[in-house]
C-alpha cells in the first residue's frame, strides 16, 4: 500500500494510535536536521584545526556520523516503523533507501579510517611524531 494512500485514505485509527507518540519517536523530533548540522560543524572544525593526526581522523568520523544522522532524518516517516515487512496490515514503513545508502557510507567511512590510521602509524615511524606542526617543521628543515 502506498504511503500516500494510507494517510489520505483516512486510516484514522492507525494515525491516532501513532499520535500516542512513543518515547523514542519524541526523542527524534523535528530539530534533527539542525542538530545534525551542529554536530557536522563540530567534526569539521576538529578536523581542520587539530594538529594531531589521530584527532583529525576522529573529527572526520564525527563529521561523517553527523552526515549519517542527516540522511536517516531525511528518510524518517512520522509514526513509521522499521522497514522490515510484517504481517500487520497497513503498517507504515520508514523510507528504506537512505538506510541502504548510509550502510554503504558507513563502510566507506571505516575503510577511510583504517587507511588513515595506517598512514598515521607510518608517519610516526618516519618522523617520530604525529603532530602536524612538528611534521611541517621537520619537512621545512628537509628541503
Amino acid at each position: 500500500m502506498n504511503v500516500t494512500e494510507l494517510v489520505m485514505g483516512g486510516d484514522a485509527a492507525l494515525f491516532m494510535s501513532g499520535m500516542n507518540a512513543h518515547l523514542l519517536d519524541f526523542l527524534a523530533s523535528g530539530y534533527n536536521y539542525w542538530m545534525a548540522v551542529v554536530l557536522m560543524m563540530i567534526g569539521f572544525y576538529i578536523t581542520l584545526t587539530r594538529s594531531n593526526l589521530v584527532k583529525k581522523i576522529i573529527g572526520l568520523n564525527l563529521f561523517q556520523t553527523a552526515m549519517f544522522l542527516l540522511y536517516i532524518s531525511i528518510g524518517n516517516v512520522a509514526n513509521g516503523t522499521v522497514p522490515i515487512l510484517t504481517d500487520k496490515p497497513g503498517a507504515l514503513y520508514s523510507n528504506p533507501l537512505p538506510h541502504v545508502l548510509i550502510l554503504t557510507a558507513i563502510v566507506v567511512g571505516i575503510a577511510t579510517t583504517a587507511l588513515g590510521l595506517a598512514l598515521a602509524v607510518r608517519i610516526h615511524e618516519a618522523y617520530g611524531t604525529i603532530e602536524e606542526d612538528e611534521i611541517l617543521d621537520a619537512e621545512a628543515g628537509d628541503s
Binding site: V82, I84, L103, V107, A114, L117, A118, V121, H124
Partner: protein
C-alpha cells in the same frame, strides 16, 4: 596474557557462540536486521577477541595471513562472479532473476551468494587490518603513559 585465566576460559567458551551468532546474522539478514557486512564484522570480532587474549601468532597457525588475503579476494570474486554469472545466463549484470527458474528463487539465491561474498571479504579484511596494527610491538615508553 598468561595470567588471566578467567578471561581466557570465557573467551574460549564464547568463541563458538559468537561464530554461531555470526552465521545467524548472515543468513537471517533477509528477515531481520543484519546481513553479510554485519556478519563479517561479528566473525572478525571472534578472531579479534581471540587475538586479544592469546597471541596473534597462535591464531596464525589455523588462519594464516595468506589465507586472509585470498579470502578477501574470493569474497569480491564471489560477488562480482554472481554478477557475471547472471550476464552469462542472459540477464544484465547482477540480475538475479536469471539464476534460477523462478525469478524470486533466483533473487533468493543471488542475495545469499552476494551476502556470502560480502561476509567473507569483510571478515578477512577486518582480521587482516587488526593483525597489521596488533603485530608491532608498542613504541610507547613508560613515561608517555
Amino acid at each position: 596474557m598468561q595470567h588471566h585465566l578467567v578471561l581466557r576460559v570465557i573467551a574460549k567458551l564464547l568463541f563458538a557462540p559468537i561464530l554461531l551468532f555470526a552465521f545467524y546474522v548472515q543468513f537471517h539478514g533477509d528477515f531481520g536486521p543484519g546481513g553479510g557486512f554485519q556478519a563479517g564484522l561479528i566473525f572478525a570480532s571472534a578472531f579479534v577477541l581471540h587475538g586479544l587474549l592469546f597471541d596473534v601468532s597462535s591464531a596464525r597457525q589455523f588462519l594464516p595471513d595468506r589465507l586472509l588475503q585470498v579470502g578477501a579476494a574470493v569474497g569480491v570474486l564471489l560477488y562480482a562472479g554472481t554478477g557475471l554469472a547472471s550476464v552469462l545466463l542472459g540477464g544484465n549484470f547482477l540480475d538475479y532473476d536469471h539464476l534460477a527458474e523462478a525469478p524470486t528463487s533466483g533473487q533468493h539465491l543471488g542475495i545469499i551468494l552476494v551476502e556470502a561474498g560480502v561476509g567473507i571479504t569483510v571478515a578477512c579484511v577486518v582480521v587482516m587490518v587488526f593483525r597489521a596494527f596488533a603485530d608491532h610491538l608498542p613504541c610507547l615508553r613508560e613515561q608517555d603513559w
